[in-house]
């Protein structure tokens, strides 16, 4: 199939970016979206041009590295699918595609389609853990957890940290990402001792990083490749309010 691509090019964080137009004439529908970009990059290198930089690694939808906004939608048109798992059969011959990075104030562009998502690591470092040292803890089965709770914790833990939630949000909020981690631990007995402190610290760091706040657009849930539910945001808000307003301690 033939496609017209408009791809965001930007030399580095300081320079101004622009769209560059490419014509693709030999795209097969079995290709993944990133394989289509590989093909283009092979062509660019052969023509002596700088290849288009984009983040990717596992190419099986789990590492969270790939981060393209395709025709305005983070990860493109297919629901619950990362860019790397999106296949060209979802597009039609003659389509025009606009390919941009995950845009947000807290995700500065590094080059072309690559953005800096290190803010997520800093939010995690503020409290996204259970403070347990490596050692000889109690037997794993000494902490029974109902299947429902464990499954729900897993639903939250499935987050791959890609940042599509931020890129899709009109406010640039990271609340789906942050709430997923807070909720995973809030639902497990292991997470209780630091529950309030965790919510407070992670939310504070999130604000410091320049992410916006949720105003219930739910765009995040719509684009999330792992179908993380916005109900976790409510869970996070409850814990945060208890810690911040009611000054409840763990």
């Amino acid at each position: 199939m033939k496609l017209t691509l408009h791809i965001w090019r930007q030399k580095n964080a300081q320079s101004k970016g622009h769209f560059e137009k490419f014509q693709m004439n030999d795209v097969s529908e079995d290709m993944s979206f990133l394989e289509m970009l590989d093909l283009l990059n092979e062509r660019l290198i052969s023509e002596g041009k700088d290849a288009i930089a984009f983040d990717h690694d596992c190419r099986e939808g789990i590492c969270g590295a790939c981060s393209l906004t395709i025709n305005g939608t983070p990860h493109g048109p297919e629901a619950a699918t990362t860019t790397c798992q999106l296949h060209m059969r979802k597009f039609k011959d003659g389509d025009t595609l606009y390919i941009e990075p995950f845009r947000s104030r807290a995700f500065p562009v590094i080059k072309d389609l690559i953005v800096d998502r290190s803010a997520f690591d800093r939010i995690m470092a503020a409290g996204g853990f259970v403070s347990v040292r490596t050692g000889q803890p109690q037997d794993a089965n000494a902490i029974p957890i109902s299947k429902e709770k464990a499954d729900l914790a897993m639903d939250a833990a499935a987050c791959i940290g890609c940042g599509a939630c931020v890129a899709s949000c009109p406010n640039g909020a990271a609340m789906l990402f942050v709430s997923a981690k807070i909720s995973q631990f809030a639902m497990l007995p292991q997470g209780q001792p630091e529950r309030k402190r965790r919510a407070l610290n992670m939310v504070n760091q999130m604000d410091k990083e320049g992410f916006g706040a949720c105003t219930n657009h739910y765009e995040c849930e719509a684009v999330c490749p792992k179908k993380i539910s916005v109900r976790f945001i409510a869970q996070m808000n409850r814990d945060y309010l208890k810690a911040r307003i009611l000054k409840e301690k763990d």
Partner: protein, 637 residues
């Protein structure tokens, strides 16, 4: 040089306890005087970095990804083994030890494997304490499934994303230490070299992948947890960036490379569809719990699978290996798939595929149960192939997946370079000639959480290290060498892309050094690889700048090492004149096609020493002593 494995004396069961007691310690107040460099932040690297920082050491971590959370450990799907015996089905530390030694076709060290089985139990406790949401039964206890090569259910899992959950657990422990200031995390930095001062590894040189800056970092010890080299085959289930560079450059500095020919080809991957393919996607081995593998009995049977009647199907694994059936170990399952396809009975567009059929399981258990067990895998399959596996059998074929070989290490995980320790898939130690399913996560975490924190203390306490820093001439020299290498890659200005060379190398490796190997093919590969390498250094084209984020340069830098390393792999495969585990030499097989091991001549580890590019490396041997298990023909019938 004789290879001293440093296996402690005494009965197998007591070795690790005795060794832990005998090793030297470092007093808590003194630990903060040491700095440890951890290259790689996957399961092994992240768990080790976090554990060492908790103990009080200063740690610096390095990853080429944008965050430690993205390492390829994250892609492991099926599970992690542990000898908990929660199912009361006869499991024990001894059984896990025995299964692993047998699964590895008697080419691993008893003492290492026994230690692995011992600490497996603690790993599960540790992960649960961290809040890893393993699958549970309605009673609230942990659930288990079974995996290839075992007759017990000892695999713990978190849906189809166990690797992700374990990595995020280790990552959470790591970021906690980053937040506390005990770990300094370097992201988007790739190791270019190990720096050795007075015979001891004292640091590394890295390239900043955003600015191109070459930088030195000193440490009191260096750990490589840089994963495997499965991408030497170009197409593999590994992530795109997985490479051999860190391990290979350590090898060039004197670390021996052990058993490089032990490369695992995973039986259940989505078959190749065409030439543009950049990777092969694994379908978890856990699918073999309920899926049945078959091909048509007739050659060239082109009917759709659902129209082929039961009596015209060959469930070849169930037929050949009745007691393990579809759960035969990976090497055996892979080879059997190749056999039936070579006979012309393969399916898929290329004729290189077999069916993995869930229709019977769906009838027996209902669609809902299958959906609960494998839902995300089924979705992934449909996304990639456009076929609904609830209605039509999956098509699968083997693909390069994991590498048992790696840098040689002793019982303390130290390489032949003092101070250079190697963890996880990057070392060779525990899986012998074939790794069992759900054992990679176990080994990565065992090395990181429970082995290296002890052995590195022993190393630091036993050696008086001189003070060095980045201004030492050896660092300057290594920086210059790294810069020269980059400049050389940039200045060829030929016609071909880095990927085209990778692809060309991969084809030679897959055809001649892949699932079935023979002397003729291996010798051809040893002649062809240098030619590709020569062409690479003459005709490579890397566009862009070296002082900028440059994906073509990153790729070229990694492919350059694959082009040298591939030859070592082929030499190892040629000189191991036996079939064992994943290494199948066509000349060495029984009449029924089973692998013919030669314990008299090859019950050893082959460790290769670098002698210059294009020169045949020197092969050293570490004899394997089996005092606790009887060397037996590995039968899964």
């Amino acid at each position: 040089m004789t290879l001293d494995s440093k296996i402690p004396s005494g009965p197998l069961k007591d070795k690790w306890d005795k060794h832990r007691f005998e090793m030297k310690l470092i007093n808590p107040a003194n630990r903060r005087k040491y700095k440890i460099l951890m290259v790689g932040t996957g399961l092994a690297g992240a768990s080790a970095a976090a554990s060492l920082a908790e103990l009080g050491y200063n740690v610096e971590t390095f990853t080429y990804n944008d965050s430690p959370r993205r390492a390829h450990s994250i892609a492991a799907q099926g599970g992690i083994n542990a000898a908990k015996n929660y199912q009361n089905d006869g499991d024990s530390i001894w059984r896990l030890f025995y299964d692993t030694v047998k699964g590895g076709d008697f080419r691993s060290r008893e003492a290492n494997v026994y230690r692995l089985a011992q600490v497996s139990v603690d790993i599960i406790d540790q992960c649960v304490a961290q809040g890893v949401p393993f699958a549970r039964e309605y009673g609230g206890l942990l659930d288990n499934r079974s995996f290839g090569g075992a007759q017990v259910s000892r695999t713990f899992y978190a849906r189809g994303q166990t690797g992700q959950q374990l990595l995020l657990g280790a990552y959470s422990a790591l970021v906690r230490q980053i937040g506390l200031g005990k770990v300094k995390s370097h992201v988007r930095k790739e190791m270019m070299d190990v720096v050795i001062i007075n015979g001891t590894a004292r640091g590394i040189v890295t390239r900043d992948l955003v600015t191109g800056k070459i930088e030195s970092h000193w440490g009191d010890a260096v750990c490589l947890a840089t994963g495997g080299y499965g991408n030497v085959f170009f197409l593999s289930t590994n992530a795109q960036a997985c490479n051999v560079t860190a391990a290979y450059r350590a090898y060039k500095k004197g670390a021996f490379f052990a058993n490089p020919c032990f490369t695992q080809i995973h039986p259940t991957c989505i078959p190749v569809s065409s030439d543009h393919q950049s990777k092969l996607t694994l379908m978890s081995e856990s699918l073999r719990n309920d899926g049945r593998i078959w091909v048509p009995k007739k050659k060239g049977d082109k009917r759709p699978p659902n129209e082929i009647p039961e009596e015209e199907r060959d469930y070849y694994l169930e037929r050949k290996y009745p007691s393990f059936g579809n759960l035969a170990p990976r090497d055996i399952s892979s080879r059997s798939a190749k056999e039936v396809c070579d006979e012309g009975r393969g399916v898929a567009a290329t004729g290189y595929g077999v069916y993995l059929d869930f229709s019977e399981a769906i009838q027996r258990l209902g669609k809902k149960t299958i959906e609960e067990r494998y839902g995300n895998l089924f979705e992934m399959y449909e996304r990639i192939t456009g076929v609904d596996p609830y209605k039509e059998p999956m098509q699968i074929y083997p693909a390069s997946h994991y590498t048992m070989g790696g840098l040689w290490v002793d019982y303390n995980l130290q390489s032949t370079i003092p101070g250079l320790h190697v963890l996880g898939e990057a070392n060779f130690s525990d899986h012998g000639a074939n790794r069992l399913g759900a054992s990679a996560l176990m080994q990565g975490l065992a090395d990181g959480y429970y082995v290296i924190p002890y052995t590195i203390a022993h190393f630091l306490a036993s050696n008086k290290l001189e003070k060095v820093d980045e201004n030492h001439p050896e660092f300057k020299k290594a920086e210059e060498e790294a810069k020269d290498k980059i400049n050389k890659l940039m200045s060829i200005k030929g016609k071909r892309t880095p990927s085209s060379f990778h692809k060309e190398l991969g084809k030679v490796m897959w055809d001649k050094v892949g699932m079935g190997r023979n002397a003729k093919g291996l010798k051809e590969a040893i002649e062809e690889i240098p030619k590709i390498r020569e062409e690479f250094w003459k005709n490579l084209n890397v566009t862009g700048e070296s002082n900028d984020l440059n994906i073509a340069l990153e790729k070229a830098n990694r492919v350059a090492d694959f082009l040298e390393f591939a030859e070592v792999l082929a030499w190892d495969a040629l000189e191991r004149e036996e079939s064992c585990g994943a290494h199948f030499r066509e000349e060495y097989q029984y009449e029924d096609g089973e692998a013919k091991r030669d314990d008299e001549h090859f019950a050893h580890v082959a460790a290769w020493e670098y002698t210059g590019v294009g020169n045949k490396p020197i092969r050293h041997q570490e004899e394997l002593v089996f005092e606790n298990v009887k060397l037996a023909v590995r039968s899964y019938k």
